[in-house]
Symmetry: C2
Subunit: 124 residues, 2 copies
DNA sequence: GCCCAATTTCTACATAACGTAGAATACTTC
DNA sequence: GAAGTATTCTACGTTATGTAGAAATTGGGC
């Protein structure tokens, strides 16, 4: 998967934060608010271009049957994050070492929740 | 941190795989072997350019006191991977959810080692 | 001390990704 | 079918990366 640019990231954040599908205009308006306080409105075509690119990257789908197409994220932010993490691990052979270091760096709270997760899903 | 390009990645892999510092020529030779069987030798300047960029990205340091400068990776591959993983998690608020999903996707063996790691370092 | 050969730095160009948006085309609705 | 709205095409500037020649630097040998 490709890394997201700033605008792409902002759009994905908006999509991830809303349960319902958004139109390009919705997103442009929200971007104006979120993106700093500059209030600088982007052209809708800009948003549409980015959405098309995100669609090509399979991060976004759109409902083409409604007229203002409605866009929504394909995966959750968490799912996407996990994919990035796995991608990062992909090249490494010593996955255990990575896990060890990773765990060594997380907060006690997260460590606790990690234990909990492991204990709960006590599968094979 | 920036994502590495293909050549940058190859160079880092070579540096990560060798304990001793390498010269640009060393790396060029090894790249010719590693990079497919095309045996196509890159120009040394190409390797040097990439090394300079990796240095700027603080992934590589070089000994400037020896004449053919000798380059070596600043961090281990594992360390770097962990950084990427943390960077991926950086934006997310629900880190627990990410952890849960991440764990849900790893192999039983890794799960086992994960438990082991957690049990060993039973710190606060 | 000077020159050569090896090495490094500068400069440069091609390609691709991304931000950005106008021009052109396609729907909808009246 | 005219008008407005929405989408697609096309395009340009910027930055990252792969690639390497030209120019400068430096360590040795004579």
């Amino acid at each position: 998967m490709a890394t997201l640019g700033d605008l792409e990231r902002s759009v994905m954040d908006l999509l991830w934060d809303s349960a319902v599908a958004q139109t390009a205009n919705d997103l442009r308006d929200k971007l104006a608010q979120v993106t700093g306080s500059d209030g600088k409105e982007l052209a809708v075509t800009t948003v549409l271009t980015v959405l098309a690119r995100l669609e090509k990257k399979q991060l976004v789908t759109r409902a083409r049957d409604t007229r203002p197409h409605r866009y929504l994220a394909v995966t959750s932010r968490e799912e996407h994050t996990v994919e990035l993490m796995n991608e990062a691990m992909g090249n490494v052979m010593d996955r255990e070492a990575v896990l060890a270091r990773f765990i060594g760096g997380i907060s006690p709270e997260e460590l606790a929740s990690l234990r909990r997760i492991l204990d709960d899903g006590a599968s094979a």
